[in-house]
């Protein structure tokens, strides 16, 4: 029996998430793992937008910021449970993406990149400046999700690190599963078709701007949920989560691993999350190395690391 890419990706992902803790030298790595999963989730959204629909966004961190601050503010000001705040953030992000994307995606070219760049920076500016609400650049505390305590009373006692590792891992698998289903659905096929040739897609009757808009909204929701999980996990959030550099990081992770494949993107998220952890000794060189990696990968492995390697393997194997 041949495994489909979808099943293979999901099985590999579940196995990796389940088995990796066996090799953790210390509890600290649960935290690193959870960070990888959070980034992987946001990057899966980028795969849908950039890899399949062929649009670039330079402001996705803005949606992560909305998700994160929804979890910080809604429980305090609106009395929402943090879990519902995640949904609220996702809803706000989706509406905003729809409003921004609708006029922009009718244009050809890289305009979505430009518009999302402006939108992302405006969001981070509001988070920085509205001190009365967000406490500005110093950051703000985020309420507890409460799920760990609930699990404890139900008899499952997890450490904080273990809990977030498991929860983020589960959400990532869910996110990857939804994305892979989308990939094989009529909408997913239509998206990839328009990436291949917009003219051809239009000729066979596809509503190209609408499809792109769908991809943008879906990927905004991914980014928002990822921001929410980051905030709830850290119990603290600063406006940096919405900053331009965070947007660039998301795109870089996706492109590094392979923007066309969910597995590649998650791999990219893992590498770029681990890199700064390993470079802490050389903190001075972090930017230098990050910039160099971005340039070299784009020149020598244009499809990204994972698809390039897979192609090599298949080339020799068949």
């Amino acid at each position: 029996m041949r495994l489909t890419t979808k099943t293979a990706t999901l099985l590999a992902l579940v196995a990796l998430i389940a088995l990796a803790p066996l090799f953790f030298p210390s509890a600290f790595y649960y935290r690193v793992g959870a960070l990888i999963f959070v980034n992987g989730l946001a990057v899966t959204g980028i795969v849908i937008l950039t890899g399949w629909a062929g649009q670039i966004s330079l402001g996705h961190a803005g949606f992560a910021g909305i998700g994160a601050y929804a979890c910080a503010l809604a429980p305090v000001h609106l009395g929402l449970h943090p879990a519902l705040a995640i949904l609220l953030g996702a809803g706000v992000s989706a509406v905003l993406a729809w409003l921004v994307g609708r006029p922009i995606l009718r244009l050809k070219g890289y305009y979505l990149g430009v518009a999302s760049l402006g939108m992302g920076i405006l969001i981070s500016m509001v988070l920085n400046n509205e001190r009365d609400l967000t406490r500005g650049p110093d950051g703000i505390d985020v309420p507890d999700l409460g799920l760990r305590a609930a699990l404890k009373t139900a008899g499952l006692d997890l450490s904080n690190g273990e809990f977030w590792y498991a929860l983020c891992g589960i959400v990532l698998v869910l996110g990857a599963w939804l994305a892979l289903n989308l990939h094989d659905s009529p909408t997913g096929r239509a998206l990839r078709a328009l990436h291949g040739s917009e003219v051809a897609a239009r000729t066979v009757g596809m509503d190209v701007p609408r499809l792109k808009l769908q991809a943008f909204v879906i990927s905004a929701v991914y980014a928002s949920v990822s921001g929410s999980l980051l905030a709830l996990q850290n119990r603290f959030i600063t406006p940096d989560v919405a900053g331009f550099m965070h947007s660039v990081e998301m795109v870089t992770m996706a492109v590094l691993g392979g923007v066309g494949s969910v597995a590649g993107a998650i791999f990219g998220a893992a590498v770029l999350t681990l890199l700064p952890q390993m470079l802490t000794v050389f903190a001075e060189y972090e930017q230098l190395v990050l910039g160099l990696v971005m340039v070299l990968v784009m020149i020598f492995l244009r499809e990204g690391v994972v698809p390039s390697i897979l192609r090599k393997l298949r080339g020799t194997g068949e």
Binding site: T50, I56, L58, V100, P103, I104, R106, L107, K108, G109, Y110, Y111, G113, V114, A115, L117, G118, M119, I121, L122, M125, N129, P209, F244, V248, V251, T252, V255, V259, E284, Y285, E286, Q287, L288, V289, L290, G291, L292, V293, M294, V295, M298, I299, R302
Partner: protein, 290 residues
């Protein structure tokens, strides 16, 4: 009245800098269709190299010249090492390459120079000049004069010299230009050198007013890019007008609305332009129906 005039002066000064950065975007975009997000780093290098060359004992004019030439050389190196090898790659990849290059340059500047904020003395002293009821710094006049000189010089270059016309021809149609014997790789090199040199000059001129450090490039790149978009990507006249309009908007926002949100002006402009005027003020009309 005097208040308004004061805001206009400061608006025109920053506007001239944005116009120069936008011009840098335009030159490279025309030659290669690449949006070079490292444009802001060129401005940063112009300021930083001058600071350190001046501190090492070079007289200010020599230090400034070194900064412009050094940055131009770096622009050429960037083209050869990062852009040319990726020719034919999709837009997303090229955008990421230039962002990667800008992060790399920032990281290198942080190591080679330092993380402090620097400045050097203004060219003609710091005594403000009174015009009507407002004042303007002599250095602001240098910035404005510099921008005027660069735009006039480039206009003459593009319209009056053979080489300049070759650059224009390449930006209109690379293949056709190649067919009539224009050395298009050289045009690319020249564009990167010009663009980096102009960016560095902007950095040299504005540093006595705004000061500089290794991380000023990103904000400048984003503003310059907004100005280029406003004017219409790929149009030098658009870069000039876009830069000035953006600078004035920023000056007026800071003066009358909120200095915290003065930076928001640029990005609201980007969104407004895209929603209502996608080709910018002077951009080519798109023939696509949507």
């Amino acid at each position: 009245m005097s208040e308004l005039l004061q805001f206009l002066f400061s608006g025109v000064t920053v506007g001239a800098v944005y116009a120069l950065v936008a011009l840098g975007f335009t030159i490279i975009y025309n030659a290669s269709d690449v949006v070079n997000f490292a444009q802001g780093e060129f401005v940063m290098l112009g300021g930083m190299i001058t600071v350190f060359a001046h501190a090492a004992g070079a007289p200010l004019p020599l230090a400034a010249l070194l900064a412009c030439l050094g940055t131009a050389a770096l622009g050429v190196a960037m083209n050869k090492l990062a852009i040319e090898p990726a020719r034919g790659a999709p837009v997303v990849s090229l955008v990421i390459i230039t962002i990667g290059a800008s992060i790399f340059i920032r990281g290198a500047a942080q190591l080679v120079f330092d993380k402090q904020i620097h400045s050097f003395p203004a060219f003609s002293g710091d005594d403000p000049i009174r015009i009507l009821q407002a004042t303007i710094l002599p250095q602001s006049l240098w910035v404005i004069a510099g921008a005027v000189a660069v735009f006039t010089g480039l206009w003459l270059f593009f319209t009056r010299t053979l080489l300049g016309r070759a650059v224009l021809a390449t930006s209109n149609n690379r293949l056709a230009a190649q067919l009539v014997g224009i050395n298009t790789p050289f045009v690319m090199t020249l564009s990167f050198a010009l663009s980096a040199g102009i960016g560095a000059l902007a950095g040299v001129l504005v540093t006595p007013i705004t000061m500089t450090s290794y991380d000023v490039g990103l904000a400048l790149a984003l503003k310059g890019f907004a100005a280029a978009m406003l004017g219409g990507m790929g149009n030098p006249k658009g870069a000039l007008v876009g830069g000035l309009v953006l600078g004035l908007l920023e000056g007026l926002t800071a003066g009358y609305i909120s200095s915290q949100y003065k930076d928001a002006a640029a990005f609201l402009v980007i969104l407004g332009v895209l929603f209502f005027l996608p080709q910018g003020l002077f951009g080519r009309k798109s023939t696509d129906r949507v």
